[in-house]
Amino acid sequence: MTLLVFLASKNWYDIRDLSNISRVILEGLDRFLPSGIVYVVAVLLGFVASFLIFVLPSQLIVGVYGERKIIGRMQSRLGPNRVGPKGLLQPIADAIKLMQKEALTPKFADKAVMWVAPIIFVAPCVLLFAVIPFGPNMIIADIPVALLYFLAVSSIPVLAAFMAGWSANNKYSLYGAMRIVAMTISYEVPLVMALMGVVLFTGTLSLQEMVLWQKSNDIWVVFLQPLAFAIYFICVSAELNRTPTDIAEAESEIVAGYLTEYSGMKWGLFYGMDIGYAIAASAFAATVFLGGWSFFGLDKYIPPWAIFIAKTHLFYFLFIWTRGTLPRLRLDQLMTFAWKFMLPVALINLVVVATERMLWQELTDGKLTQGYLYLFAIVNIAMAVAIVYAWARMLGYSPKDETPMRPRLFNDARGYVPVVSEKGGR
């Protein structure tokens, strides 16, 4: 799989390929640093650059504009609009406020673990950006198992949440922490299966190769496998503890969640990385499903990292949309949904995708032409709807037999009126 020739040149001022700037900086540093240290500097530079260019503005944009103002507009109110232009500097004000607050630790809590838990929560969210391709040459670590890296790193914040809940020495935080762990590990399984379906088609675990596959075949995986996209979205919402599955944060209405005893910047780290982790998951989805930095040929003219950032924010908007609209599910309903619905549907999806891959191999005698992909896309979109509908029916979901949406109306107060049960009517 050869890299296509881009119009982005090798000049250092050509921002369409940011690796030019970093290459110039690193080559300059290599001249007077001992051999090998420049790699460490390269990694640091990559982290800092991706954090400053991508994560921090995204935090400001989606963290304020998306989360608070768009949700505010959904609730027919304005969001924050005092601090900065259109309220965009609100997280900075929040961060300053949190930093000057006293971070209380309860007397009998486990101080070391409580101090370490936010750190372990922040680290994976930052590490995730190492493997995400922002452009054709702009990736910090192009490892061949990048997808597994994502899965591996995303199982660490679970432990951090558990540590946070345990160390607070509070019966209710522990309660909340165990619930999160149970929910997260049950939603990891359909997530992996959905991603395996994608891997079957692209034939590689490396994210840069996936983007190149989507670019060379002129199709995005979301059209090819809509069911995998839907499963990924729901499972990643559950991993991130976002509504409608946010029993971690909002079960704190009733039982104090795992974040009770956290205040000040420790809480601020959890909250900030909530958004940061969501941005990482959106970036990952934009790479795997939505085509990464490629856009059917437009990425020669527009900087590819801008396209990528736009896609990430588009996916993040889906998170915000469901958060503003849907109520929350109970824990046992969530578990039932994960194990009885998501897992079988993901399995069926995997079987269907594997069959199609084999057909693709056979029908084109190993050459894997592009035309069949469009056929598979149409078939998959129809099958996604069919599978979901059929499995829901099989599980016993029949909306017509349940309570109708309007109550009965009577003209006089006659006392008890038993429900006359007719099949499929009121």
């Binding site: 486990d110 673990v113 061949p144 199982s155 558990f162 522990l174």
Partner: protein
């Protein structure tokens, strides 16, 4: 394995892993012991990366840190006396004896083995691993999956409430 970065990371990882392993043994709080165990797992994953076995490194993190550590945590939570001091035990003498014997065996093997180094690292990609698992080694793979399914079913059977058991009783 040459290069300054490789050597530095080897020593750092070795230090981290050994200190965490020591912490598992030494810490009196059971929960702290588990946390040190998790750090040990991550250190070992780092070693796998150094040996260019990237798939196994990621699998190590996913399986050990993501699943087995969580399992151990749940087991601690469900045990009645998990808050006790980890250091008190009645098995001190047998444990000391056993660990000395095991340590002797390990040291003997390490010293006496013929540590050949290969000239270039073999590139075993994920593709070769997958075809080996499903081709040559299909039988152990299937046995492992049957074992895991049996464990899953067993765990569910253990926590059924009496009403559910009565429902499914074979009478």
């Amino acid at each position: 394995m040459e290069g300054f970065g490789v050597v530095l990371s080897f020593w750092v990882l070795a230090a981290v892993t050994l200190v965490s392993a020591g912490g598992v043994m030494v810490s009196r709080n059971l929960f702290h012991a588990v946390l040190f165990l998790i750090t040990t797992f991550v250190g070992i994953a780092g070693f796998f990366v150094l040996l260019s076995a990237d798939f196994i490194a990621m699998a190590q993190v996913i399986i050990y840190v993501g699943a087995i550590a969580v399992l151990v945590l749940f087991a601690i939570l469900l045990t009645p006396h998990a808050g006790r001091d980890n250091g008190e035990t009645r098995m001190l003498l047998p444990a000391l004896l056993l660990s000395t014997c095991l340590g002797a065996v390990f040291i003997f093997v390490i010293v006496d083995a013929d540590w050949r180094t290969i000239s270039e690292s073999p590139s075993v990609g994920v593709r070769e691993l997958g075809s080996a698992l499903l081709g040559t080694w299909a039988l152990p793979f299937e046995i492992a999956s049957v074992l895991l399914t049996a464990a899953l079913v067993g765990a569910i059977m253990l926590v059924r409430s009496p009403e559910e058991e009565a429902e499914d009783a074979l009478v």
